[in-house]
Symmetry: D3
Subunit: 147 residues, 6 copies
């Protein structure tokens, strides 16, 4: 999603597709280190072979975090990350998969004189066009002349 | 939460408190690098001074990711991260704050012969006992004798 | 600089100021690790105290690298980093300093049917408005309809 | 280059070849994180396939930074990185390429009672002996008895 | 080893096998950065080809460090890392190898009213069951009711 | 220690003092990530306050790893890290402490036509001259004309 305008600039139904990012083995190793999540599904090749996935997969939270890095956020436009609803990790992200974020504005809610809530249906897709994560994301956005 | 048993071992209402982790400036810098989210609220001290927070704060996704690292997950017990509902970033996490995860099992749902869904109300607290993140987390857990 | 257009869209004399980034101790530690440059001026507090700077300073190459991260580069617009001229490290960047990039297009040179060279005078400033790095940067940019 | 002597110890025309370093996918991922430069040519495999390079390449600034890590710098000998001239990124560095630095002292300039400028023609080569970066590098070096 | 009890709870002869972790190229790159050890055996593919190992290998200290991350250490149980004896790096760890820690308690020594020393014979194995590191590790552990 | 010669070039009793490195909070955070050792003594400020140390301390293995990065190892001179004996973590390393390595060659052992063992008494000191780690380190070094 592009958070590059004051609240008044968004329209329900507008859509955006982000650029891509390849999730590498190095990303998984780094994410284990940052999060502290060393669950063997992510970092033990021998263990992962025996699971339903057959190989190491990215942490769900890595995919979700990398998606926020694919958003465009202009300074001053975003006040805070408000929340997430109905998030589902639909498919695994494997080493070498490339992810994209497809977004559609679903709801716009005034919160105060200075802030509004932009609710976005966010799908994270892989290079085959398959959805890997599906969620509703709520961002607190500055109102016109208030950023 | 402790995901250290097969599905049959959980009871609605059981609670767990994790150990702590201090969120440092280095964590924020690393997380910006891993996620690609360089929004100035997290990495620009001059900008952050002028926001409602008055200083740089941790990415919401960093706090959430660090919480997964505070879970105890025994090998074979967790099959997959299923999803998240009703997540709200309630308070900022500042540099030097220490976070803890308090969990309560809310629902247990059989999904198949091999897996069940454990739904946990997860609160991430800071060192003052204040909730910083509140969410419902769903984990797919192996059934007895099936891990 | 904003590299967000085909070559034909640039005008000599146009200027841009980037958002900021605070250079932290963690950035210096990480940069030593990525570059392999562990010169004690950057990572030994006792040694740095005795130099003309009186404290640890950022690697010049860290400042320069962080500046490229402050550029806006739209996918497909930039073909390659062509080169740098007349780069001078004018002042030290200390832990906690915030840097900004001020750019002015100085020259536009057609290179082929598909690419042009955009030459930018780039000044990296600190939070006091002092220049810390001064350079001419050349970027190979796609021509209209060729990206 | 070896910066392991006071200024008086250098001779115009002296040459040095550094040891090597392989640039890995992990280096590119880490460098994107440290610099903040997530341009898709470096981190999106699908995008990179469609460029003139056909695959992801290292950031020019990563190659340049890694070269500084291949210099030998004895404590006290180097006072500051002074500047760079005539830098050209001549060829791409691909994942798995190994780089070396070949240096030749071109000029020696007294700057003060305590410092001199050592100007070095630096070529960064790959494992095939091809130049990937070519530049003039200026280092401020301590004079005899002044470090 | 599981350090999850007060000193009184250990028995000479008890054994434990940890879960696994795959040592990746990214781990080696990161460890070079954290330790500052850029010896070419670890980070220069061309050089490593000509050694007795024929390829890059993990730093011995990386393997040893990753082994401590495979220990289970309950908060309050471990007071301090006391020391290591008779450590031998027996076989190389190559990129993609998975390591496990096998431990056996060899000796229990009271040190004070509050602490005891647990001496563990630790073998780090690879996925073929071969020992790669062999050592005696001494941990200072809290006594009953003293943690 | 300087491992910059063939085996024949070492003399029992020769000594060396390395340059320094300050151990920062960022180093501890990174090392937790690389090793997977998130024991709260290192990463939880609230917990650490209540221990005998009163604050977070560096992982023993971080100090030991950083010491290897302070060695000088010329390409081809070191064949392998052979082992460690009598290692004791004598004092804690706190955030902001600077470490140095003092080495003395204790024993020289021919191992084959191509390799010899150099045994070094290594003391890691802090900026107050106090020993923090004491160990005997064995390195396998190339013999003359055999590197």
């Amino acid at each position: 999603m592009r958070f590059d305008r004051p609240f008044e600039g968004y329209v329900v139904g507008e859509r955006h597709r982000s650029r891509g990012r390849t999730i590498t083995e190095a990303d998984i190793v780094q994410f284990a280190g940052v999060s502290g999540d060393f669950y063997p599904l992510h970092i033990d090749r021998e263990y992962a072979k025996q699971t339903q996935f057959g190989e190491r997969i990215a942490h769900g939270m890595l995919t979700l975090s990398a998606a926020t890095g694919l958003w465009v956020m202009e300074q001053g436009c975003v006040l805070a990350f408000y929340g997430i609803d109905a998030l589902r990790f639909v498919r695994p992200v494997k080493i070498g998969d490339t992810i994209y974020v497809e977004s559609e504005v679903k709801q716009l809610t005034e919160r105060s004189d200075t802030a509004g809530l932009v609710t976005v249906h966010q799908q994270i897709l892989n290079q085959h066009g398959e959805t890997v994560v599906d969620a509703l994301v709520h961002m607190l956005v500055a109102r016109e002349g208030k950023k």
